[in-house]
Symmetry: C2
Subunit: 345 residues, 2 copies
């Protein structure tokens, strides 16, 4: 089906665009009262993720209510480790929690790869099909997965952490185990992204949320190497790679086979542009906290960011997921400001 608004895809490919496209990480969920209403009817976050009709419903909400240029399927990066055999719970105000963790060869039995992704993650592909039906070609639908390093962190640590020292310990004590697990995650992730593409997503983004806790050499060995495998395996749709906090690896990341590189809110867009030139689209990077300001401050800071761009190759986003207590009206001001901005290039 032809898309009515394919701005995101043209921007990703570096083609001509009439204005910068805009969407927000975590736009589906969190901030909208309409989302919380759906969530309130269900037992919790996981039921919503696993119920395709409702997941599709909250995926479409920001397109209807906020006017973003893309939908992103409502899901969680942790569906992959769960499909591999490591069940998780989402604990209110605390985050994800895994009863079991993988810190030995023996525990690799909880990191399975010999299964049919459609079998175990069919609820995601079904949500994608339902979403596209509902969107009816209005905007592209983004699929996503966690990067192997980030999934590895959760599978080994078992929960969120400031330092992920249990995860990083393994890199020193048992690098063979680390690579085995990373390879398995990578294999499943590629299958999972391809299943999403078959179901109809128009672009995929790989999130490496914990890239920033590794130094350059370790991130090259345990992070980028697997990002690269994924990027090389996907040629059907544009690929976006986002490695949060990977200051020292942004050049290497942008050299991977991808269309777009995500830029977090602490990075300098002009500096990254200096490194990557016009070869890649950059996505980001407004500080999500800007949306706590007044409408005129949101407008001013958004314009400051837009003025700092020195290229047409941009997709506008925040530099991190939108925070739960942000007023949706401020998000609308952000989006309106981007939409009314005239590209200089």
């Amino acid at each position: 089906m032809d898309l009515e608004n394919d701005l995101l895809l043209r921007a990703a490919r570096g083609e001509q665009i009439e204005r910068y496209p805009v969407w927000l990480m975590r736009q589906a969920g969190r901030i909208l009262p309409e989302y919380r209403a759906v969530r309130g009817e269900l037992s919790g976050f996981k039921e919503l993720v696993e119920t395709p009709e409702r997941a599709a419903e909250v995926t479409v909400q920001p397109v209807d209510l906020l006017g973003v240029d893309a939908a992103i399927i409502f899901s969680d990066i942790l569906v992959v480790p769960e499909a591999m055999g490591l069940e998780y719970q989402m604990i209110e105000k605390k985050g994800p929690w895994f009863e079991k963790t993988i810190r030995s060869e023996e525990a690799l039995k909880f990191a399975q790869t010999n299964f049919d992704v459609e079998d175990r993650l069919g609820y995601v592909t079904e949500a994608i099909r339902l979403t596209n039906k509902e969107l009816n070609g209005r905007v592209p639908l983004i699929g996503f997965a966690g990067a192997p390093w980030t999934i590895f962190c959760y599978m080994t640590e078992g929960q969120g952490s400031k330092t992920f020292s249990e995860s990083r310990k393994i890199l020193y004590t048992n690098p063979t185990l680390a690579h085995e697990l990373l390879n398995r995650i990578t294999d499943v992730t590629i299958q999972y992204l391809k299943a999403q593409i078959s179901a109809g997503v128009h672009l995929v983004q790989v999130f490496d949320s914990w890239a920033g806790i590794l130094g350059k050499e370790q991130y090259a060995e345990f992070g980028l190497k697997y990002m690269e495998k994924i990027a090389n395996a996907i040629s059907e749709v544009p690929v976006t790679l986002f490695a949060k906090g990977a200051y020292n690896s942004m050049v290497d990341l942008s050299n991977l086979k991808c269309n777009t590189v995500g830029v977090d809110w602490n990075m300098r867009m002009d500096e990254i542009r200096g490194h990557v030139g016009e070869s890649r689209t950059l996505q980001g990077n407004l500080d999500p906290c800007v949306l706590y300001g007044t409408h005129s401050e949101v407008e001013k800071e958004t314009n400051n960011m837009l003025h700092s761009f020195r290229s047409r190759r941009h997709i506008v986003n925040l530099g991190h997921g939108v925070y739960p207590d942000v007023d949706p009206e401020k998000v609308k001001t952000f989006i309106k400001t981007v939409k009314s901005y005239e590209i200089q290039y």
Copy 2:
């Protein structure tokens, strides 16, 4: 009193040294069974911090047991907000928690400055005096405080956080309040560090643990500005500034009036050296996770770090606090490796 081993101070001042000095952030506490024995006799972490005899005891332990070239007073950066009127609890496995937070002008009554530091924080200066008596000039004693930005984070957020979005929100919604609170914290911190110096510490370190969550411009305005006030106010002893994760601000940080700049484990020592030249001593930056490896791996990685130094102006440390479950024998291997390394410059 003359110090038997003043290597740390000579290294900080850029003077001649026969080998690199070495100590570990968080060396007092956490890893030693002898520390846990003392801790077990008391009601908790805070009682230990507030009991000078016992705080002095655990401060001296790593000098006796590990052979480090400096002691650092056992305490917590959160004694400052508590003295200002914001009591905290240290919750096991969760971290600090404040019942009250400062998010409005009205709440500034919990950020007092008009008190005698010796009155409210006399337990720290007493611990310093007792420690020096016990050390008897064997090694220098390091005093410390949290940087205003990091203390601001805890006073406004009320607990640890991955994003400190409540803290960062204020920078946009009420910068006047932010600066007022930062100024107050700075005033008290300067008095506090001067009290530590009067009590006998030989060097002070300012820890900006949450520097990395701000972009360059905001860190300049809300972080560095107050680090600078502190650095300018201290001339009695050498000053070390550590801004964890402040990739974009390392040059500006090193331009402040300080002797030593801390380098976290994700930063590249050679790159920072390239920026600061020989004007500052660099402290760090072994990945604390290296200490999970075998003895020979610890030796190898420590030597790799030492070989990468291109200057005499180094104080060896980890790039972050030592993790609680590290084997003290591995720490000894780290220290031994540093001590037997011959400086090339």
